[in-house]
Symmetry: C2
Subunit: 389 residues, 2 copies
Amino acid sequence: MPKFPNFAARVNQITGSVFEKFRSKMVTQGENLVKLHIGDTYLPTRFQLPIDRSVLEKHRDYNRYCNTFGVEPLREVLTQKLHADNHLQAEPRHVLVSNGATNALSISVMSVVDPGEEVLILTPAWPFFFGMVKVAGGHIKEVPFYTRLFENPNLDVPECLEEALTPNTVALYVNSPNNPSAKVLAPQHLQQIADFAHKHQLWVISDEAYDGLTFDDRPHISIASLPNMFEQTLSIFTFSKSFMFAGLRLGYVVANETAVKSLNKMMVHQLYSPSTIAQYMMVEPVKTRDQWLPPVRQHYQDLRDLFVNELRIDFPKPEGTYFIFFPADKYLRGRDYWELIETCLDSGVSVAPGDSFGKDYTKYIRLCFTGESPERLEMGIERLNRIFG
Amino acid sequence: MPKFPNFAARVNQITGSVFEKFRSKMVTQGENLVKLHIGDTYLPTRFQLPIDRSVLEKHRDYNRYCNTFGVEPLREVLTQKLHADNHLQAEPRHVLVSNGATNALSISVMSVVDPGEEVLILTPAWPFFFGMVKVAGGHIKEVPFYTRLFENPNLDVPECLEEALTPNTVALYVNSPNNPSAKVLAPQHLQQIADFAHKHQLWVISDEAYDGLTFDDRPHISIASLPNMFEQTLSIFTFSKSFMFAGLRLGYVVANETAVKSLNKMMVHQLYSPSTIAQYMMVEPVKTRDQWLPPVRQHYQDLRDLFVNELRIDFPKPEGTYFIFFPADKYLRGRDYWELIETCLDSGVSVAPGDSFGKDYTKYIRLCFTGESPERLEMGIERLNRIFG
């Protein structure tokens, strides 16, 4: 069902900040305005956070509520990053800073999926996304995809997608670079997905959490940068992966301005806004990413190659992210799948079971090749070789 | 309809972390375990946050994903605070750290309200709470309450509540100290609410965001501390008000262990977890609150008295929070209500319109008496006296 450019009914049932309508008058008054309308304190905090004084003095509102769309310096620098890295002609009004990509995905689903409507999920897919669709009352249609592209690069993508479409389909979830399969979608495949979404007026929820983490000079392409796709796509990014600041809980959505406003309404009802001070702290890392990100990416690629060269398990060579994903059937040797997982644990190496990534992956296993130091990774590989070899 | 101790259907449709079932085996393995199951990086961040090195070195996981229930040192110190200040016999397993009270309220509503069910909201009430009930597909039943208690301290509370009950009622939202009316509920009124909720097996969502901000030595009583009420109550607190760290976006829910687990499942689907480093930073302020909070409270009380003495408008004397809430009808002098609000703005003082606090308050106005310095507050009072006097 053509859903774009419409939103879920719940978006229209809620309002954003009650003060939005007075914003222009408030701006006109400027410093003269004595603000008694918002619940806040003029006092500096009674407890000094262990943060550099220069930062706290530069951002005197660091402890206070911020613009729920995001602090201006961060939205500004993100638009420059989006132009340069993602070829998205975004302006600050197209950027909504969120509490991590998790939150961005949650407000996206809540904003476009009405109860009973269907979301196409290209699988394998990040486990929590399935739950988000359920929380919104939506139905899930899984489309085994990334692993099939590894098996067959000439896969008939349009056929795959058309087969899965029903009259209730309203959105499509795509995640490239893909967790867990480590597939990075090629331009022609992204274009085929875009054509399909455009033809059927589906919202595209593009999870680009692993933006910046592709190997062998493979480009990461934002589907919203393809012709006609900016309006129709909710592009989702995070500071948790290539930026390594998972603990700050920051991410952002890029979308058309109406969508940004709708998603913001949903966000203020879930958590008001992400952290003010964390947002200020991320301005510099964005500005300097060309200095520190390439060596990180190279190091991750080296760690991938360590696994490719030393791990005696068959798996498709990761094109991005920091995962390895493979079917474990042929390594069972009389053990049942869950016994195998437990054998790993008992042998001192933890692996992620595949079943949470989609119903076609109940016999798969996912490994992360960057979560431990190279020495300990070697140890892990040795243990895995003993169990699987 | 007796809902407690049951949860909304959506809670049962989603799962928590996929690794939960392996936790005990992982703990047994300890340091020996090479962790390849989770997507993470072993690298320290490439960008040094402007935070004291001693803090970063003490909390080496500051940039990483944390236990989604909250970091242990914070949950631990919060239980001590809950014992001492709130008379709640909570253990760490009863505490869920959330992304502000907003997020705690959102996951509470999503966890207990099914579509079509009814929530009693004692009004006037915090505007976003209405939206949260709508997002969950619930229906709102407003019960004008706090303002009526100011008018009539002998109000028949049980009658008030019983009148509003329908067969679909599943939860009751109470907020004391109350934003916007500044009412602090007396023990007998809280007991009457507790008796009503207990009798009808309703979940009590107790919004205690203004915990710590009561005046004239009035105690703040947590409804969950009353006999039999701990199990049935979701008690919600924040670091945004008395702690003044709104910009860190941290709050917490106290509830029975099953409820904490249900709410956590909802939370991980909305935002995974609140900030790791922000949680570590809040341990000390909680420990030292008896040193810095009493003078803050006294200062706010002085600011309240400034308004009580100088503002020539009739309003009930605030018992807590930092708000003043009054009906504006008798100050219209031919102006319509919205003209009056705009006159304030045009005269350089912003006030909050009452209509977002409930349908009985469309002609009310809310002022905050702590958001500006005393000098500027005097200026605000002068301007208000000219408009209203």
